[in-house]
Every structure is written in C-alpha cells, then in structure tokens.
Amino acid sequence: MSVPALEVLAISKDFGRIIALRGVSFSVQSGEFVSILGRNGAGKTTLLNIISGISRPSEGEVKLFGTDPSDRENKAKLAVISHEMFLYGNLTAIENLEYYSRIYNIPNAKQRVETVLNDVELTHRRFDLVATYSRGMTQRLTIARALLHEPSLLLLDEPFTGLDQHAIGMLITLLKKQKEMGRTILLTTHDLHTATELSDRYVVISKHKIVKDGLIADTNPDAIREKFFSADTGGIDL
C-alpha cells in the first residue's frame, strides 16, 4: 500500500493553560474525502492548523505525504479554505490571483487564472476591486484562489459558514469535481447533511478527542444524527 496522504499520530496540543487536542490519531488515504464533525471549540481548527503546518503539536507527530507538514513542498501541495478570505480588497480579482500564482510559482499562470475564474463564474468581474464584490462573489473568488495551484490536499474549515445558496451549490459541485480528480479532501463542519452527501468517511471529535471514526457507507445518517446530534441544539451533543 502506498503512503497515506495524511497520518496523524497521537497528537496533543496542550500549551500552558490551553488544551486543544488530546491523543488524536487517524489517517487519510490518497483520494479520500473525510469529514471531521464536532462542535465549535472541540479542537477542529487547531487540528487543521497542525495539519497545515502553521501550528506545532505539543506531542505526537503529523505526516503529510510521508514528511513533516511544515516542509515547503508540502505547503505547495496544500490549500485551505475557511471563513477567512485570504484576499486583498484593494486589488482586483485578477491581481489577487496573479499575486498568488507568483507566490506558488504556477507555470502557465495566465491560463490557469482564467480557468479558475471561469470555474467560479467571475470572469465578467475580473477587473473589479474585490472590495466591491458581494459576499457570495468574494467567497467564490476565495475558492478559486485555493484551487489555483491545483492542491493535492484540500483542507476546508467550516467553508459553508456565511455562504449564500448559490455559492454553497457551486462549492459542492467544485468539491465533487476535485474528488473525481483524485484529490484528498478534509472537511470540518457541524453540518451533518453536507458531510454525508460529500464524504466517504467521518471522524467525530468531541472534547479534544476522537470519539468515532467510521465509513459513511456503513452508517445510516439517521443513526449518526441520533447518536451525535441532538435535534434541539442542531449541533453535536455527547
């Protein structure tokens, strides 16, 4: 068997008075789509920060494609989509994308920028300042920016938060396309519906630990809902 795309080996993030993760282990095979379910504050964002090499675990180890996540080659293979835009309002769409394509050293940048702009249906607004965009349009551009360097691993941190219906539909379509192309995708969400629709596997994090790791196919979504989601809070309740 080939090297898994991601291996998380017994990591803890426990610094000073802050406890974020405790002994979390799981691995993701290349091409898999895994959803990480958990309440706000359960440690999902910290986990993604550690996987993306921004943060260091206080114990344990993470391996991205067999090496350290903070390696430059790994960072080039990775994209993060979160509620943060990662865009400059005072630049146009095309200037933003050109800036990032230089940073990521993308060959054939011009063509690539056109392709991603077309994918998110923003070609007609490409010369406008991002500050003049509507929220939905900005989010679409955020997605375009993330896909610019054709990442092999996509980390999505609550990407549906604050999106309008149109942008959600577009993101889901794009994610399905990415999955068909064999990209590995890791999604954190508290939205069970999209998680079951998109992913192959799910991992439930609660109180800084993994409490469930299973295949979506093996599980009845209602059973997950019954077990981990309480109807009244709409979130995970353990």
Binding site: F15, G16, R17, I19, R56, S58, K207, H208
Partner: protein, 230 residues
Amino acid sequence: MRSKIDKILLIILLIAFSVSIYLIFQWVPQIKASNPAEQIAQRIFYFHVPSAWLGFLAFFVVFCGSVAYLATRNRKYELISVASAEIGVLFISLVLITGPIWAKPVWGIWWTWDVRLTSSLILWLIYVAFLMLRRYLPDGSKRANLSAVVGIIGFTDVPIVYYSIRWWETQHPKAVMASSEGSLAAPMFFAFMFSLATFTLLYVYLIRKRYQLLTLEDTLNKQFKEMEIL
C-alpha cells in the same frame, strides 16, 4: 525538596540583608564631602548599583529563556522569561527611584537627561513594552512565540542603547571600581560586594518563587479545564 531549598534561601537572605544594612550604615566609614546631605545620600549607592546589575542579569535571562523557548517550544522557558522580565522591570524601577533620591541633594535636581539616566529609562521602557505585549495577547503558543521574538530583539538592543548615548558627556559618577585613583576604600569595596551578592541571591529567590507561582497557575487552570471536560 523545592520548598526546603526556598526556606533555606529565605533564611540566608534575611541574615545577609541584616548584615549588609549594618555594613552599609554603621561599618563603612563616612565619605569626605563638603555637603553633609551627600554623605548620607552616598550610601544609596550600595542599593542603586546592585539593583542595576540585577536588572541586566534579569534581562539577560529573558534573552536566554527566549532563545531556549524558540529552540524547544517548552512552556518552561517561556515562564522563566516572563518571571525574569517582571523582576528586571522591578529592579530597574528601583534604579530609577533611588537615582533621583541621590541626585536631589547632590546635583540639586531630580532628573537630568544624562547618558546613564536616559539609557536606564529606555531600558525600562523596552521591558515594560514586553510585558504590555503579553497582556494584550491571549495565552497560547502564538503569544509565546511573539514574546520570545521581542525578548531576543530587546536584549540585542540593550548594548546599542548604552553605546548610543555615550555620545553625550556624562554627569553620572564613573564606574568607581575600575579607576585606580579615587577608587573605593577597602571597607567600602567589601560592603559593596556583599550587597551585590545579597541582591543576586534575592534574584535567585524571587525568580524561583515567581516561576513556581506561574506553573501553579497553569496547573490550576488545567484542572479547571479538566473538570469542564468531564
């Protein structure tokens, strides 16, 4: 074990301070000065200079702690740096307070924008800013990283600050130990060294205590978190 060492340290400190007060106020002969106020004020030197020395020592420890933190990411070194910065600021504050007390009767003014005075004030400001920065940031590894960076840059700046203001002429008494002519009389030298040693011991005691307190805070907070989790 730990508390036993602290107890012994405390007892030694009490004795050493009593002895050094006796040495400074009784044993050391009067200096020759036309102004009687100056004769009394001069004795502040035995507190003023050791405080300044402690300040430098403390800031050097901040620097070492910061480097060690960035190399290991161990919380321990972050806490040592903070504890030392706090003590350093405290002792440089003492320098800035005892200085004017001496200057008023001798120079006739509380403060002058002199070399040593200005540089001590700048030094104090650097580390107050360091502590302020920590106040403004939430606890976590980000804060530890940022304050370690400032701890390193801050200490690199210390010699530069002292060097830069050399440019001006100084009114401040020269480092008396070094000069052959007009150097301290033997009893004065002994009393000074004794005071210096006592102050250094005080630093060791204070940093131990402050560090223990900070670790205790961590443990307590963690236990609260643990209770929340369960």
